[in-house]
Symmetry: C2
């Protein structure tokens, strides 16, 4: 297999960024043997500055042991700018693992624009830029014949976008329903086992599933953004967040869940888009479903999505790791599929 | 969008072939608008000869009404040979919807070889040629830089291959488990509701789910071939049918199913491949699974598959129409993805 060398720039070095670097290290041989790809990490940008690896640098130097920070220090170049990197280095893929800001889209929006203007493909696990300016970024990528991929932002290792874009080609998606947020599904599952809302949230915090402030999850916004990405990418819509009616699970009464359970049913936070009489309705809300619903069995932190189509029937996807490693694996998958479709 | 004209030759005009022609007619506008594709059906081959449409010919002429046969007759050219078509017409896609013969692979094997030797891509819903000579055909396609796609042969509208090939890129598939045959799953579901094996088979016949002779389904061979296709394409194996241990559901005692049900479990005909200590084990057998198994909820004629991976966790696909329209939609999807990846 002929080998292709691809430069990468990584933005953000939190949990997903670190898991991605670890995966690059782990999968070096597999990428070369199975996909003919050699991925070179040319820079890592953190909020405090840029890291530019010198000769002899090894990925595991920044991952493996507690003393890593010191070694990293040797490679650290202050005031390295993204502008200079994307202009001076042979273009490859900018990987964005910075935190999502659903209001401003920053810093991801600036990264993505700069990359796409400089000939770099963009693979992002950051929902922010897409929530704020999906159509602008997609247009910029398409005009410059560059890829803009965001599996890691949509449902991580659950390949909701791939299936919608590739596997349903030729079919019309009439509706989509998804359990797209693992934290809320965990909380609802715990409540189904008899806990109150606040006990369930506390349990999710203790287990490291919910962030200290899980507002974006429990108020439904994380689900809404993922729904927006799927609707816009797969159904060709031009949804904005304000087009989606959003109801979360905050303070959901235990009696509601209890009654559902007694009837053999289950309460799920569903993101839904339907084409109805020429119009589109998009919503996020807790829904009671029974065992005939394809997402009935999706429990705990698992996610799932069902596409309802005209020619292929209903196609449902469930599972996929929801942790940083799963998100990093989705990022790596997107990179591979840019070069090895 | 620039428009690409693609020639098609259709082999076989049974249920799937007819559904495919109907879909071509239905989706003409969608294919042009969403994918920039104009597909031209240049010939249909039936066991009795070849149909070569003349100017003014419309797809719906051969589908729409009871008098269609007469009109078709006007376009019919006897002794039209596949050789002459694939050599004289600008190459496009040969679509094989002829019946599967798992022993000889014919007539599909001859069609596929001829097409690939003449510059035509091959999209097949026929399992036979792939069961008999998977690696030979794949090598021929790869040598000639042509596509060989077979979603319609593997699990029809359930996109088992797409997910395995595209969505799991970069991950290692450690194991796969699938309910890959709708007829046997229907029979097992009926038995779960209290019928005997022979009553359930009879019910499947009455509803048109089972063929008059469902041997290939109930003996497990249909599942085995699909498993072989998935293992070879996704896991990079070189399985032959004789490498798979195959046990069907013929005469399965009702007590077995009854006991499983009393324990809250379920019996499914599972196709399984596992990597174990460097080796591969591949089997088809009825298995008792409980509600923690991702395929537990797959009932009736539905299908499902779970990939167990190293980096993405478990990814499960369920649903997808199992009728001729679903298979035809899978064929159409494969064609689109050749030209619009």
């Amino acid at each position: 297999m002929t080998e292709k060398a691809v430069n990468l720039v990584l933005m953000g070095f939190g949990n997903v960024g670190k898991a991605f670097v670890k995966l690059l290290e782990e999968k070096t041989d597999h990428l070369r043997e199975s996909h003919g790809l050699s991925l070179f990490l040319r820079a890592i940008f953190k909020s405090t500055g840029g890291l530019f690896p010198c000769a002899g640098f090894k990925l595991k130097d920044i991952l493996d042991d507690p003393g890593a920070d010191l070694r990293v220090h040797a490679f650290w170049k202050q005031n390295l700018s993204l502008e200079s990197i994307v202009r001076e280095v042979e273009p490859g893929v900018l990987v964005d693992c910075t935190p999502s800001n659903l209001k401003t889209g920053e810093p991801g929006l600036t990264h993505a624009r700069l990359a796409l203007d400089s000939g770099w493909h963009v693979v992002t696990a950051n929902k922010g830029p897409l929530a704020v300016n999906f159509s602008g970024l997609r247009e910029k990528a398409s005009r410059n014949r560059l890829a803009l991929k965001f599996s890691g932002a949509a449902a991580a290792a659950l390949p909701a976008l791939d299936v919608g874009l590739c596997s349903l080609a030729g079919a019309e998606v009439l509706a989509v329903e998804g359990i797209l947020n693992g934290t809320t599904n965990f909380i609802l599952t715990e409540m189904g086992e008899g806990r109150s809302y606040s006990e369930a949230v506390q349990e999710a915090r203790v287990r490291g599933i919910a962030e200290p402030d899980p507002a974006s999850d429990v108020e439904g916004w994380d689900t809404a953004v993922k729904l927006l990405l799927i609707g816009n990418a797969v159904m060709g819509l031009n949804l904005r967040l304000s087009d989606i009616s959003v109801e979360g699970i905050v303070g959901l009464p235990a009696e509601l869940i209890d009654r559902a359970r007694r009837e053999g049913k289950s309460v799920k936070l569903l993101g839904r888009i339907r084409r109805e009489q020429g119009g589109i309705t998009a919503s996020v809300a807790p829904c009671v479903i029974d065992h005939s619903h394809p997402l009935f069995g999706v429990e705990g932190t698992a996610k799932g999505i069902t596409y309802f189509t005209d020619t292929m029937g209903d196609v449902t996807l469930t599972g996929g790791k929801s942790d940083p490693r799963g998100a990093a694996a989705a990022v790596l998958k997107d990179i591979i599929n840019i070069y090895h479709p």
